[in-house]
């Protein structure tokens, strides 16, 4: 037989193999929730509040009920009888509060788009017809929309049972902050940043099918999301079905980015309806509902100050962050993590001694805000890197030089930030130096300067960043949420010699299943095509957290590595008995057990498996072979594993139109051990473009009374191919010592760094024009013209 290059030991980990599970997506054979049709299935459509804040006076459903094909109609009172409300607070975010949230608004609506009535009919079209006939009479209440106005002592209270509209406040004070700012030799800069709301716009809307079987009291949720076991617990808690009888199945998921990991009243109501009607109920959000009801992201107003000493060393940073989260803290992850990450991560790349921060998380009558890709990171990086560029300009230093002086040294680990974050295995200096070479920083600066003389306005923006990945239980579990921070993997050998694996991390297109197959193929010495991967089904995969905070490779992958190694040891033990050889003299390659010395083939995995499964009589009775192994893994000793990187953007600004053209984008990222470079690079590229969307295009625009003004894809601008740059990606590899594989997460980097890089580049382009520093995202042409003082 001929061995291929992949039959060498350790040949898959690190190889950029294409994703085996992409083939069916390329042929239109995906299995998204809306593709599924179950027997007797009916369709749910929601009547939503047109007001940001209103009392519901009465609901008249008579005309809707009279329409042929309508199966049932439920309002908030109906749902309150079968769904218990939830409270989105974490106990370790001390002092956080949020009132109980019902699945459907009950008595009062708190944001435009909150579900009020659920109509169920034989087809979605009929349900939409009936929904249009539901008459709800509202008494509008004062809408509290501006996050700072919401904090005024005389502001109307969104929740009368609370004494203010404050959800949570956190203060940090470390080191001699006032002394650093008071130092007469210090360079001090101050700036106010405004970050608008945007949202995930997964191309597949939120989708769910509830399928309740009363004969066994079993509820199945066909789920478009990231955390099946979390949803299993949520459904059990709030629908009164025993947890073990709830099955959550996530097959193909058409984008998620954090949007689909939260608890949504409409989805829970559809599941409750399935239980009441004893038949499957499908709900698929339309795009208008997606904009109104998918969680929104960011929404911060930040005042920031920083001080530099005469040697160019950063001495202190002070932050005041007010963030608006809508009327409820979102369950079960809470809406406090976003702001918490902002105040935690500001300054993290730098050797900083003194830090003061105040965070206020505020209720408002807008769509709920919660965790979206790179939670808090883009805000923290844009603020800190904006301050760094301001300090560079104010002190007459080159922005790269100022970062060189202040970035944590690559030999300084382990170390900690003033906020108490613990760093290990990072490479800020190496990433910056590699970035400057990759982009040819000096040549780019020279080009920029030469073009300025010709009236062409280009700018360069740098960002150094950290990203929180591989989270430990300190994230959610410690705060009481039913969210696992460990993941499990099972590997088993079948009778044909193929390996089947399952894992509790999930796939939304990142390539999760591919890296799990690569790890397994590598350890088991089999071809990639002989590894079969299952994820996303609580009935079949080990218990675990799913995919969030970039944990697929670092946690799910490590569990897979350990499970595959355990299976390998089992196989070698059996082989040793069959071959009467010591297991340590044998290894696996090419689907065969071979001699470690010399590589002679001894027995195929297929023959070994058949001996165990069919002809056990040939084995000694004392041997009880197990050709299946499960291992779980969690990060210990650290709350999470930091990843780091550096990024640059090169832009041209047209001062006549305010339009920004993206000319180049470079990223150097350290994700530790790289399992599949192609997949890592594509995670970074996709993330960069989401970050560019936040920087330049995407904003949920609200009127003063809480009406979302641009809730269609034609009005809410998502980055398109024509306006995006090609991106150059490179790596520094510093494996994490918290695991054997050494992989860190790759999903946050692009989104974390790109907004700050683009903002710095735009301001670099505008600076010689005497423009005001632009500190509001998205940086629309109108805002750029305002900064230039030329807007009409």
């Amino acid at each position: 037989m001929t061995l291929s290059s992949y039959d060498r030991p350790a040949s898959y980990i690190g190889a950029s193999v294409p994703r085996p599970n992409a083939l069916r997506l390329l042929q239109g054979r995906g299995r998204f929730v809306d593709d599924k049709v179950l027997p007797r299935m009916v369709h749910a459509v929601f009547v939503r509040s047109p007001h940001a804040h209103a009392r519901i006076l009465f609901i008249d459903t008579a005309a809707a009920r009279a329409l042929p094909g309508v199966v049932a109609i439920y309002d908030g009172a109906d749902m309150a009888k079968v769904i218990t409300p939830w409270v989105g607070v974490l106990t370790h975010l001390s002092g956080m509060r949020s009132p109980p949230q019902p699945a459907l608004a009950h008595g009062v609506t708190h944001w435009q788009g909150e579900p009020v009535v659920m109509v169920i009919a034989q087809s979605r079209a009929l349900a939409e017809d009936a929904a249009a006939l539901v008459d709800v009479d509202y008494d509008p209440l004062p809408a509290v929309c501006d996050m700072e106005a919401a904090l005024a002592p005389d502001a109307p209270r969104i929740h009368p049972q609370l004494d203010s509209n404050l959800c949570w406040e956190r203060k940090i004070e470390v080191g001699a902050v006032d002394a650093a700012f008071a130092d007469p030799s210090a360079t001090v800069v101050e700036r106010r940043f405004l970050f608008g709301r945007h949202t995930g716009v997964s191309l597949e809307p939120r989708s769910v099918i509830g399928d309740y079987d009363p004969s066994e009291d079993r509820l199945t949720m066909h789920y478009s999301g990231q955390a099946p076991h979390m949803m299993q617990s949520v459904l059990s808690r709030h629908l009164g079905v025993p947890e073990a009888r709830v099955r959550v199945v996530a097959e193909d998921v058409g984008g998620s980015f954090g949007i689909k990991i939260h608890t949504y009243g409409d989805e829970i109501a559809a599941l409750a309806a399935s239980k009441l009607l004893r038949r499957p109920v499908k709900f698929v959000a339309d795009r208008l509902e997606s904009f109104l009801s998918d969680i929104h992201a960011r929404d911060h107003r930040i005042t920031a100050r920083a001080a530099l000493d005469a040697d160019g060393r950063l001495t202190a940073v002070e932050i005041d962050d007010v963030t608006g989260i809508g009327p409820y803290s979102v369950y079960p992850r809470s809406s406090g993590i976003e702001g918490n990450q902002v105040v935690n991560l500001i300054g993290a790349p730098y050797d900083l001694g003194a830090y003061r921060a105040r965070l206020r998380v505020v209720f408002q009558n807008k769509t709920p805000m919660c965790q979206y890709r790179a939670v808090g990171h883009p805000i923290a990086m844009a603020v800190m890197e904006g301050l760094m560029d301001d300090l560079a300009a104010a002190s007459g230093r080159d922005p790269a030089d100022l970062r060189r002086i202040n970035l944590r040294r690559d030999d300084s680990y382990p170390s900690a930030s003033p906020q108490g974050l613990r760093f290990a295995d990072l490479s800020h200096q190496a990433c910056l130096e590699k970035l400057l070479v990759l982009m040819d920083y000096d040549a780019l600066k020279a080009e920029r300067d030469a073009l300025r003389a010709r009236g062409i306005h280009r700018g360069i923006g740098l960002v150094s960043m950290v990203e929180v990945t591989n989270p430990s239980p300190m994230f959610y579990g410690a705060g009481g949420a039913p969210i696992a921070a460990q993941d499990g993997a099972t590997a088993r050998l079948d009778a044909s010699g193929a390996v089947h694996v399952s894992n509790s991390v999930t796939e939304q297109g990142q390539g999760t299943e591919t890296i799990l197959a690569q790890i397994t193929a590598d350890v088991m010495g089999v071809h990639l095509r002989d590894v079969h991967v299952t994820t996303g089904d609580t009935a079949t995969v080990p218990y675990g957290g799913g995919t969030w905070a970039s944990r697929g490779a670092g946690i799910g992958g490590e569990a897979m590595f350990q499970a595959a190694r355990a299976l390998r040891a089992q196989v070698l033990e059996v082989a040793g008995v069959i071959l009467q050889a010591k297991p340590e003299t044998l290894t696996l390659a090419g689907g065969q057990v071979v001699d470690t010395a010399g590589g002679a083939i001894r027995i195929s995995l297929r023959d070994l498996a058949r001996t165990v499964y069919y002809r056990g009589n040939e084995l000694p009775s004392g041997l009880r072979p197990e050709l299946i192994a499960t291992r779980h893994y969690r990060v210990t000793d650290y709350p999470f594993v930091f990843t780091n990187g550096a990024m640059a953007s090169y832009v041209e600004v047209d001062p006549e139109t305010g339009i920004v053209t993206l000319l180049g984008h470079w990223v150097v990222e350290d994700v530790g051990t790289i399992l599949n470079e192609k997949l890592v690079d594509e995670q970074i590229r996709g993330g960069v473009v989401q970050g560019i969307g936040a920087a330049l295009f995407e904003e949920c625009v609200y009127s003063d009374d809480g009406q979302l003004q641009n809730a269609t894809m034609a009005d809410y601008l998502v980055p398109m191919a024509a306006e995006m740059p090609d991106m150059v990606i490179a790596h520094v590899c510093t494996p994490t010592h918290t695991s054997e594989l050494g992989a860190k997460g790759a999903g946050e980097a692009g989104t974390a760094g790109a907004p700050g890089a683009v903002m710095n580049a735009v301001n670099d382009a505008l600076r010689p024009l005497g423009a005001a520093t632009l500190s509001q995202m998205p940086m629309t042409p109108e805002r750029i013209l305002h900064a230039l003082g030329t807007a009409r």
């Binding site: 239109g28 984008g255 297109g509 594509e682 989401q690």
Partner: protein
């Protein structure tokens, strides 16, 4: 609102006759009545491109065309274009370049890209490719790998044509 229409069309090379509600969109028809779930509904506003199918050889938004309007037409979806092998090289390039992540936009993106590639003519540059696919949103990839894959096929097809000449 409730009127229905009987239509006959050639769907992925097969003759199909069906009675459909007059208001039913073409994409709902192929997905829900014909079981061709490869075409996706991302916005139902004609913006995102996930529902793009081929009607009489042209890319069409399946959410903006009524099934009734397809009477007498030849309609190809990702399933038919896959089975015929019409875009096998493009699918292979998408696979190797990792131009697909979640896969929700992919069928529409393939149909739109096939329209560009089937035009023949000079090899489109990256800007022309980016321009052509700008009516198809992808939220995962950032587009670069998609452009790489389309460009690869455009060059390969041009080279094959030259070899044949």
């Amino acid at each position: 609102m409730s009127g229905s229409v009987t239509i006959t069309l050639r769907l992925n090379g097969e003759d199909v006759t069906a009675t459909v509600p007059a208001r039913e969109s073409l994409v709902d028809f192929v997905r829900e009545r014909m079981g061709l779930t490869g075409s996706h509904v991302g916005c139902a506003h004609g913006v995102c491109g996930a529902c793009t199918v081929r009607v009489d050889g042209l890319s069409v938004r399946g959410c903006l065309m009524l099934a009734a309007q397809a009477d007498g037409a030849s309609v190809d979806t990702v399933e038919g274009l896959t089975d015929s092998g019409a875009m096998a090289d493009l699918q292979d390039a998408f696979h190797r370049h990792n131009a697909v992540q979640c896969g929700f936009c992919t069928p529409g993106m393939l149909v739109t890209a096939t329209e560009l590639l089937d035009r023949g003519g000079p090899v489109p540059d990256r800007a022309a490719i980016r321009d052509h696919i700008s009516g198809n949103y992808c939220r995962c990839t950032g587009y670069q790998a998609i452009v790489d894959a389309i460009q690869h096929v455009a060059i390969a097809r041009a080279a094959a044509k030259e070899d044949a000449a």
